[in-house]
């Protein structure tokens, strides 16, 4: 600006009455807004503390070694959640064993190979949409496909396959996001040295995206642990202790489903709260792990 505005360069005049008023008003607004924001923050905190406190208060006394170590049996009059703990582990292992390689492969293909083709756009749109669908619908579709069409029995396998469909979009998206954060200059640098495309991806792109991929996987595991609706029709409600192989094809409730069963069908609220405590601890650990992994694996 070469021409000076005479009004601006003149000395600031004393505040007029109306200006004073508006300043007052602003101050009041600030105080008010501050108060409300504090109040909202406090409310959220209070709710959280209450929730955690209440669950701990109801659940911890019933969280006994006995409960964790045994199975539920009418004959022996015991209640135990060992089968559900194992079922949860089984379903995590199988779901991730399938979903991880497929999703990461798909994400690499979409980001590094497909370019901006129509098909890639459609797939990307689909993954975006799929991650917002209510999980009960996955349960319904999983039941129709894996149990009625393919003839699997209710069990871990059908449940895991359903969860694969459910979390693949999540892992694909987080992987794609982290692949996109790798600067193109690295890719060009590697290609200019005569590296093949896959070699370049393996040595330059993936090591720089690994933190995002691992975080995505851990969050995926978090979803598996917390999932109930998609498993009701597919993995089933079974509370009996089965071996790994047998569990594949026999009705097996994960912890979350078991919580539902104990609370609503058996009226065992105490057991339900004990499970809730375990789930809360697991969720906390998984979140910590995700943060830790992201930090540890982040390059430079």
């Amino acid at each position: 600006m070469s021409v000076k505005n005479p009004e601006l360069s003149a000395e600031m005049p004393a505040l007029s009455d109306s200006e004073k008023k508006s300043a007052e008003r602003r101050k009041l607004w600030n105080i008010n807004a501050n108060f409300w924001l504090c109040f909202c923050a406090f409310l959220t905190m209070a709710l959280l503390v209450f929730l955690i406190g209440y669950i701990a208060y109801r659940g911890v006394p019933h969280l006994t070694w006995q409960l964790i170590r045994s199975e539920t049996s009418h004959l022996k009059h015991t209640i135990g959640i060992l089968p559900n703990i194992l079922n949860t582990l089984y379903i995590i292992v199988i779901t991730m064993a399938i979903a991880l390689p497929v999703s990461v492969g798909a994400a690499i293909y979409l980001t590094e190979y497909a370019g901006r083709t129509k098909l890639a756009n459609i797939i990307e749109f689909a993954t975006e949409t799929l991650s917002g669908i209510p999980s009960i619908i996955y349960g319904l579709v999983g039941m129709l496909i894996f149990i009625q069409m393919f003839g699997l029995k209710q069990g871990i396998l059908a449940g895991a396959l359903t969860l694969v469909i459910m979390i693949m979009p999540v892992i694909i998206r987080t992987t794609q996001e982290s692949l996109k954060t790798v600067p193109d200059a690295y890719r060009e640098g590697a290609l200019a040295l005569g590296a093949g495309k896959w070699h370049m991806i393996r040595t330059v792109v993936l090591p720089n995206a690994i933190d995002g991929i691992v975080t995505g996987c851990i969050l995926g595991i978090g979803r598996i642990v917390g999932e109930s609706a998609a498993l009701l029709f597919t993995a089933g409600f079974g509370l009996v202790l089965n071996g790994f192989v047998k569990a594949m094809q026999s009705s097996s409730a994960t912890l979350t489903v078991a919580l539902y069963v104990y609370a609503s069908e058996r009226g065992e609220t105490d057991v339900a709260f004990a499970i809730a405590v375990i789930l809360m601890i697991l969720t906390f650990l998984i979140n910590r792990l995700a943060k830790l992994a992201a930090k540890k694996l982040k390059k430079v």
């Binding site: 901006r116 600067p183 060009e188 200019a192 040295l193 005569g194 040595t203």
Partner: protein
């Protein structure tokens, strides 16, 4: 004086934008060829057609031939990775990988199958010395390359390109971010390199082009206006536009 790169009727489009128009040029072996011209005239684009880095740009269309020792590098049967190993490139902006200094240099040789620790050590030291950065980094080879200064990063990238022993080295304003001392070192390096390699460099710096290049190509709006020996171009340019540019009347 033999020709190493023979460019014939080269045309390039970015979508609808005709970025290179009918380029014909013969780049001589074991010489430094400078590409000059105002910003946006297509110097980088031309340079990237010489090792097929333009293949990576979506929507690019290339016509014409680039013969490397008589072999058309755009022939479908040609292995692109081989071309890029033979014709190395240093980018306008330094782009070291987020790895250690050592691993940056060793990346190329490892990619092409060299595993022996002794040989890698030897390559790393030799190329870092060649790129005039050895003294500065010899005690921190295991440290991240991104911790180096901009100028050091650029010299590291030159060393990295030399480590795959290319036949031709393409440099895109590789000294534009360097201080005069590092620039001097790189220019000296280029002079030594031409014993073994052929260098094609883009530069915005007329003095630099005049100082170190043997041949000079002047681009304007996607056209190759003039290509001749540097002495001749800077003393008696044949085209009016070249003269105007060199004497600083535009650009």
């Amino acid at each position: 004086m033999s020709t190493i790169l023979d460019v014939e009727k080269l045309n390039l489009w970015y979508g609808d934008h005709h970025a290179l128009k009918d380029i014909n040029v013969e780049i001589p072996k074991n010489r430094i060829t400078a590409l000059i011209g105002p910003s946006g005239c297509g110097k980088s684009t031309f340079l990237k057609t010489l090792n097929r880095m333009n293949d990576l740009v979506a929507g690019v269309k290339i016509e014409g031939d680039v013969l490397y020792n008589g072999q058309n590098i755009y022939d479908p049967s040609v292995d692109v990775t081989w071309i890029r190993k033979q014709i190395g490139m240093v980018f306008q902006k330094a782009n070291p990988f987020p790895m250690s200094i050592y691993d940056n240099i060793a990346y190329g040789p490892r990619t092409h199958g060299i595993r022996s620790r002794v040989r890698l050590d030897e390559i790393v030291e030799r190329t870092l010395r060649d790129a005039a950065i050895w003294e500065e980094v010899k005690d921190r080879l295991k440290k991240p390359a991104l911790g180096l200064s901009g100028g050091q990063q650029q010299r590291l990238c030159i060393a990295r390109a030399l480590a795959v022993e290319p036949d031709i080295l393409l440099m895109d304003e590789s000294t534009s971010a360097l201080d005069p001392i590092s620039t001097g070192k790189i220019e000296e390096l280029a002079q030594q390199l031409k014993e073994k390699y052929t260098v094609v460099m883009v530069t915005h710096n007329m003095q630099q082009a005049a100082r170190i290049s043997d041949e000079c190509a002047f681009f304007l709006l996607g056209e190759l206006v003039e290509f001749s020996a540097t002495d001749k171009m800077f003393s008696t340019p044949t085209d009016k536009r070249t003269e105007d540019y060199i004497t600083g009347r535009f650009g």
